[in-house]
């Protein structure tokens, strides 16, 4: 039974603003002199209270969209669910394997070719030879990168990179899929494929958590919504209702989201065709 449970989760990011707070010599001098040497100046670490008591309960079939302005805590919450950031207070409990796509070139080695990257990830998760062949097949079909798979990933365009990481993250066996808005970098055609793939992925009862500023993407991919503001849950419910209430309260596109609606092709894709 796949299950994600967060109970009163708090996360505070330490801000190491001065060089001193990063210095072990400074800390040692401070401890050795019982604080006499470390005084004066801003050597105390400041914290940003990014999540302030989040409680969430996700069951099989839940596809949650995170809504909120920049700095509301969306990415932090994704990291908390994914297990990248451990909560400072509260409890996180996840039953099921997580696959996540939080940064666009997630775990991809730029020096290796596309094929080598796919094989490497397969080995990393202990797939046998047949499993790795199936993985390579699946990723190649989905990404349609063709001959590009024989080239080092560093020559890929941003959109190609997203296709590869998205395919890798969704091809691995996983029950909980955590995704930041990186898929916005794909073109319209890719978005259509990604939607299809996500539907297949979730047809067998899985959980997804996604953050995005684009209403259309959220409506397409998600069935539930959480509206975050300053690390607190403002609203929770079916995605359409939450979006409606959010949009009524917040000026439209505070961070220039319209660009995501236009079918902008990354310029290098035309080179791929030629």
């Amino acid at each position: 039974m796949v299950h994600v449970h967060l109970d009163n989760v708090h996360i505070r990011y330490p801000i190491f603003s001065s060089g001193r707070s990063h210095s072990i010599l400074h800390q040692l001098a401070k401890s050795a002199s019982f604080g006499a040497l470390g005084r004066g100046g801003h050597n105390d670490i400041a914290y940003v209270h990014a999540l302030r008591g989040i409680t969430l309960d996700l069951r099989e079939g839940d596809r949650l969209g995170l809504i909120g302005r920049n700095g509301a805590g969306k990415s932090t919450l994704l990291r908390a669910v994914a297990g990248v950031s451990w909560p400072h207070e509260g409890v996180r409990k996840v039953d099921g394997r997580i696959s996540c796509l939080i940064n666009p070139n997630a775990g991809v080695d730029l020096e290796k070719t596309g094929w080598a990257n796919i094989d490497f990830v397969g080995r990393l998760f202990g797939l046998n030879k047949a499993g790795r062949a199936a993985l390579a097949d699946d990723v190649a079909t989905f990404t349609e990168l063709g001959d590009y798979l024989q080239l080092p990933v560093r020559v890929y365009s941003a959109g190609m990179m997203v296709r590869l990481s998205f395919a890798l993250a969704t091809a691995l066996p996983g029950d909980v899929f955590v995704i930041d808005e990186v898929i916005g970098a794909g073109d319209a055609f890719f978005m259509e494929r990604a939607k299809q793939r996500a539907r297949n992925f979730f047809s067998n009862a899985k959980i997804m958590v996604m953050a995005s500023h684009a209403d259309a993407i959220l409506r397409d991919f998600c069935n539930k919504g959480v509206w975050l503001d300053q690390g607190l849950v403002m609203d929770y419910g079916p995605i359409d209702d939450v979006l409606e209430r959010y949009n009524a309260q917040t000026p439209r596109f505070p961070e220039g989201a319209p660009a995501l609606f236009e079918d902008i092709e990354p310029p290098n894709l035309s080179i791929a065709a030629g």
Binding site: H22, S23, I24, R79, S85, A106, G107
Partner: protein, 262 residues
């Protein structure tokens, strides 16, 4: 589940994923020599040239017999470089693995074991120089040489310990890496590696109070066919066990903060 229990699970779960850290370790070694003809054999070649250069000049300076001194260096330098590389790599372990740590649902501890195994793979390549010394210069091995096996296990335990400690401290404190590199470099001169303990004459304490001497000597003595010394073993085993326990404690205390330090 308490954060400490979760950290313990992270540590043991990582150890169990042998295929993951073995793959990463091999990839690290191969990646460094990608697009070169010799590949990781560069490790062997550069180590051989270094030992030969050091042997020629210092056999003259110290008035030692070249062949005997060469074998001494081929054993001692190889062991020292394993210790030194592992220490210097320590603070960078998690910083280097940041991308993977943020990308996949894998325990963070695989990067500790990956680092230690990577150093072992390098050590194995360097050992070819020692084997060459045995074949072409003089075969000093005997039954005592079997002690090299438990001695290597002691060094691996110690390396795992300091890797755990330095990996977390290095993520939190950015000046740990240059500090460790600087101190390690100095210890190379203060430890009987390219000179012998017997050169100390009446100042034996100078080596006996140096923990690196005992760590090196447990493995070097059997490689040179010398009988094991109880003091070396007692000190080296104590160091290794202390480091391993301390490393596990650091892991349990610091694991929850890792992502905020990177």
């Amino acid at each position: 589940m308490s954060p400490e229990a979760a950290a313990m699970q992270d540590l043991t779960g990582g150890l169990a994923r042998v295929h993951a850290w073995a793959l990463l370790a091999w990839d690290d070694v191969r990646g460094r020599y990608r697009r070169t003809t010799l590949g990781p054999l560069w490790l062997t070649l550069s180590h051989a040239l270094f030992v030969i250069g050091l042997a020629i000049s210092f056999s003259i300076i110290l008035g030692q017999e070249l062949g005997e001194y060469f074998v001494y260096l081929a054993a001692g330098m190889t062991v020292w470089i394993f210790i030194a590389n592992s220490l210097i790599e320590g603070p960078a372990i998690f910083q280097r693995a940041q991308n993977l740590l943020y990308s996949y649902d894998l325990p963070a501890s695989i990067h500790i074991f990956r680092a230690v195994l990577g150093q072992l793979i390098t050590f194995a390549h360097h050992m070819l120089v020692y084997l060459g010394a045995l074949i072409f210069v003089s075969n000093v091995t005997n039954l005592y040489t079997l002690w090299a096996i438990p001695a290597l296990a002691v060094l691996i335990l110690a390396a795992t310990g300091w890797s755990m400690i330095f990996a977390f401290l290095g993520a939190r404190f950015r000046d740990l890496a240059p500090a460790v590199a600087a101190v390690t470099q100095m210890m190379f001169l203060l430890t009987p590696i390219f000179w012998e303990r017997s050169h100390l004459d009446h100042a034996q304490w100078f080596a006996l109070f140096n923990p690196f001497y005992h760590l090196i000597e447990v493995l070097r003595a059997p490689l040179l066919g010398r009988p094991p010394d109880p003091l070396n073993w007692a000190v080296a085993v104590s160091i290794a066990v202390t480091l391993a326990v301390l490393g596990a404690v650091v892991y349990m205390k610091a694991r929850r903060n890792l992502s905020y330090w990177l």
